[in-house]
């Protein structure tokens, strides 16, 4: 695998430091409860420069502080905000807090310009990403419960181990990490410190020096529709180290992979172009399908070492 002449971590850093401006506005139904008197003309909004790699539940603290400040401003004090009841929605659709924010954005906001299938899509959603925060009526049927910091921590580690299991066939390497290192992973993520996180991640998981091939590539394919999340073991040994993304996706979406014999539909709007190659969106950009999968795995992973790819 020829190494880049430039900074090795360049892409990793670009991925890591990717930010997304989010405009959070308080849901209508909660405005009255929180503010007490007649709501002002413009809904109270809050802006956040969220990390693409982070999680929504981790923003909740800031949101809560803002809401409480709003609260204090009001003469009569309504009940306090329960962080576990806080949930976010985009265009009415609840946002899964256990997905990375970047993934959520890719999933909900990247638009394929109508009519242009083969043209490279560009990010057409206006920024900032406007979402609403709800304080009540937690949709327990569509979202995982208890979106607290600790729960997020647990989910993150679980996904990390799952990715490791796919890559190496066991979670031995992660489980053998000393406690401090495991904590450092999460600490690095929450504080957005690249060095802290990658010091552990680099040594334990991504064995670049040794040029080992992961057994399977940890990749998940998402589509706009609710249903389809495809996770298929992609044996690199069989496919070869120079497999491209396009080839891998093609492999992954073979009908035989699926119990029903039908891969899930990823592009509901354009059923006619069923066989046309998908648009691979990752981290808010379109990835060329000629990109080698292995390189992608190593450099454009999310912190949990998964490639959360949205197919358009």
């Amino acid at each position: 695998m020829p190494k880049l002449p430039t900074d090795e971590d360049r892409f990793r850093k670009l991925v890591w430091h990717g930010k997304l401006p989010i405009q959070i506005s308080l849901a209508k139904e909660d405005r009255a409860a929180l503010l007490g008197r007649a709501s002002p003309s413009s809904p109270p909004v809050y802006y956040v420069m969220a990390h693409r790699c982070s999680y929504l539940s981790l923003i909740t603290d800031d949101v809560k502080a803002w809401l409480e400040a709003l609260e204090r401003a009001a003469p009569d004090r309504p009940s306090s905000i329960k962080p576990t009841q806080v949930w976010y929605a985009f265009n009415g659709a609840p946002l899964k807090w256990h997905y990375p924010i970047g993934l959520l954005y890719d999933l909900h906001s990247i638009r394929h310009p109508p009519g242009t299938v083969s043209a490279k899509p560009i990010c057409t959603t206006k920024l900032p990403w406007t979402i609403t925060v709800h304080l009540t009526n937690f949709p327990a049927d569509r979202l995982l419960r208890n979106p607290s910091r600790d729960t997020t921590h647990h989910y993150f580690m679980a996904q990390y181990k799952e990715a490791e299991f796919m890559r190496a066939g066991s979670t031995k390497r992660v489980m053998n990490l000393p406690r401090e290192d495991q904590d450092r992973l999460w600490a690095g993520l929450t504080t957005a410190e690249f060095e802290t996180f990658w010091a552990v991640n680099h040594g334990a998981v991504n064995a670049d020096d040794k040029d080992e091939l992961p057994r399977h590539v940890a990749i998940r394919l998402y589509s706009r529709t609710d249903s389809a999340v495809v996770q298929v073991p992609l044996p690199l040994a069989e496919l070869g180290s120079r497999t491209t993304v396009g080839e891998a996706i093609a492999y992954a979406l073979r009908p035989e992979q699926f119990a029903t014999g039908h891969p899930p539909k990823f592009r509901p709007e354009d059923e006619s172009d069923q066989d046309a190659p998908y648009m691979v969106v990752l981290h808010g950009i379109v990835v060329s399908s000629t990109t080698p999968l292995l390189w992608l795995t190593r450099n454009l992973c999310y912190p949990d070492n998964f490639l959360h790819v949205v197919l358009l």
Binding site: L14, K19, P21, M49, W66, A69, R72, I285, V287
Partner: protein, 571 residues
């Protein structure tokens, strides 16, 4: 794949990511500033709302208070006035109380001062007492200690004394036993002596009887010579070679006086057997021998360590003995004037001593209650007899000195057997006072054998026949003449105003035995007649007690000495 194509995707990716980031960049600063503004606004709104609230509450409170105040103003004023009056009254009372309290405090302070002074004084006293108590305690301890020590010492001493006592008791017991034994021995000895004396007496009687039988034939020249020797013994001079000697003269004229022959008192005097010399001895420890005719000092014999008590010429007049208070008897040779013998052994003063017939022995008697017999050839004491009581004078009954008579301080006359050492006879009841001198009577002439016992006959006759009478002189002023056979008093010589001058005042028979002379304490010489037992003459010459008076062998001359150093030669 060419290098370009290989990297194309990468480049595309990079470009895409950068574009993405660019699009997002601008928002960052915006969001931050928006958030700070929002924060500020909210804070201000909050503060404003809060202030509003407080404002409204204060206003309502104020309004309330104002209402309340207005309504209650007047009442409050009146009430306040009352309250003020009350308070003023309270203040005055409190002030009075305070002044009272100050006074009381002053008084208390004074009392406190005085009390503290008292306390200090008491403390000082206590301290003094304590120190004195301590001193007393230490002293007591010391005394106790010394007492204990003394006790200890006492106990020890007591112990030792006890031991001594027991030892002494033991000694006493032993001594008592010894004494008993000795007394037994003594009684045994006395019995033996008496037995011996009886035997002697029997022997004497036998020999007397023999001699009586032998008296019939006239004595031969040999016998005469023998008697001469014996005659010397009886102190009679050589002149008396026949039985008819001139009768002794009563001294009447002093033909010679010796004044202060000695430096001290004169204690004794003796005439030599041949009558040529007179010896005196006195307090000045010297024996002076004078010529009896001229009174010239012939010899001065010194050597005694203390005063001379008794002098006696030996039968042959070549020796003279002197006994002295220094418990010794000294014998001088008269031709050389040098001491021949010093006989020591008595432990009391030697009051009297006599030579035996051959001047081989001296028998002495002393106040240590012993009679010692000294052998002159060997020069030591050959016999010591315990005489029970101190003896003042002795007489030998026979020239060998086998039997002696001693006169004692306990008024008793004792007869001793020198060989056995036993007291053959004790004659008590004679005198009421100590016996001071003894003298054996020489032969008496012109005496009918019927009146005068044969002992008073001439001295030529062997002794055992002639000298059977004894003159005892005692301090009660009586002189007894005893029959030596029976030891009964033949007669008593008394005189008014006669008292012996000292314990050693000597009385003497005259040469013929008719007269007895004794000196009295007032210096008067009494002469008795032995036949009539009456005072024949009183011769007053001396002024002090007469210590000795003697006739010479002829009986014509008389010598007397008084204590105050006057020696008189009489005719």
């Amino acid at each position: 794949m060419s290098v370009d194509t290989e990297y194309q995707w990468q480049v595309g990716l990079e470009r895409g990511l950068c574009q993405r980031d660019e699009a997002v960049e601008g928002f960052e600063a915006l969001v931050v500033s928006y958030n700070t503004l929002l924060h500020h606004t909210l804070q201000l709104e909050g503060d404003y709302a809060h202030l509003n609230d407080t404002h409204t509450t204060l206003r309502t409170e104020h309004a309330k208070l104002a209402d309340v105040g207005a309504a209650a103003n007047l009442d409050a004023f009146v009430a306040a006035q009352k309250r003020i009056a009350e308070l003023e009254w309270q203040v005055t009372t409190l002030k009075d109380e305070r002044s009272d309290l100050y006074k009381a405090q002053g008084q208390h302070a004074q009392r406190l001062l005085s009390l503290t002074d008292d306390v200090r004084r008491r403390e000082e006293q206590v301290r003094d007492l304590e120190t004195s108590a301590k001193a007393t305690a230490t002293q007591m301890a010391k005394l106790q200690q010394s007492v204990d020590d003394y006790f200890y010492v006492l106990r020890e001493k007591d112990g030792t004394i006890q031991d001594e006592m027991t030892a002494l008791q033991l000694e006493l017991v032993t001594k008592e036993e010894k004494l008993k034994r000795v007394e037994q021995e003594n009684s045994q000895l006395v019995e033996r002596w008496l037995r011996k004396m009886n035997e002697e007496a029997e022997r004497m009687n036998d020999t007397n009887r023999q001699l009586e039988a032998e008296r019939r034939p006239p004595p031969s020249v040999d016998q005469l010579n023998e008697c001469l020797g014996d005659e010397n013994y009886f102190g009679l001079g050589r002149r008396t070679s026949d039985t008819n000697q001139a009768p002794s003269k009563v001294p009447s004229i002093v033909y010679k006086e010796l004044e202060n022959p000695h430096h001290g008192e004169i204690h004794t005097l003796h005439v030599s057997h041949d009558g040529t010399m007179v010896a005196t001895g006195g307090q000045d420890r010297r024996v002076k021998v004078f010529d009896s005719r001229s009174g010239n000092l012939k010899y001065t014999l010194s050597g005694c360590l203390q005063s001379v008590l008794h002098v006696w010429f030996s039968p042959t007049d070549d020796l003279i003995l002197a006994t002295s208070s220094d418990n010794a008897i000294r014998v001088w040779a008269l031709d050389t004037g040098r001491i021949q013998h010093t006989l020591t052994g008595h432990i009391g003063k030697v009051v009297s001593a006599k030579f035996d017939g051959e001047a081989r022995k001296i028998i002495s008697v002393s106040h240590d209650r012993t009679i010692k017999s000294w052998d002159l050839y060997r020069g030591y004491c050959s016999k010591t007899i315990f005489s029970i009581s101190s003896c003042n004078d002795l007489c030998l009954m026979d020239p060998q000195g086998t039997t002696i008579l001693s006169g004692h301080v306990d008024n008793v006359l004792r007869v001793w057997d020198m060989q056995s050492g036993n007291c053959v006879r004790e004659v008590t009841g004679l005198h009421d006072a100590p016996i001071t001198s003894l003298a054996i009577a020489p032969a008496m002439t012109d005496s009918p054998p019927s009146l005068i016992p044969p002992i008073l006959s001439a001295a030529f006759i062997p002794y055992s026949v002639d000298h059977t009478h004894l003159l005892t002189n005692a301090k009660d002023g009586t002189l007894h003449i005893l029959d030596l056979n029976t030891f009964e008093s033949v007669g008593v010589l008394r005189a008014e105003g006669y008292r012996p001058g000292s314990n050693w005042a000597r009385a003497a028979f005259s040469a013929d035995g008719h007269l007895v002379a004794a000196g009295s304490a007032d210096g008067v010489l009494f002469i008795w007649n032995t036949r009539t037992f009456e005072v024949q003459a009183r011769v007053k010459e001396h002024t002090s007690p007469v210590c000795a008076a003697f006739w010479d062998a002829s009986g014509q001359h008389f010598f007397s000495a008084e204590k105050d150093q006057l020696v008189c030669f009489w005719e």
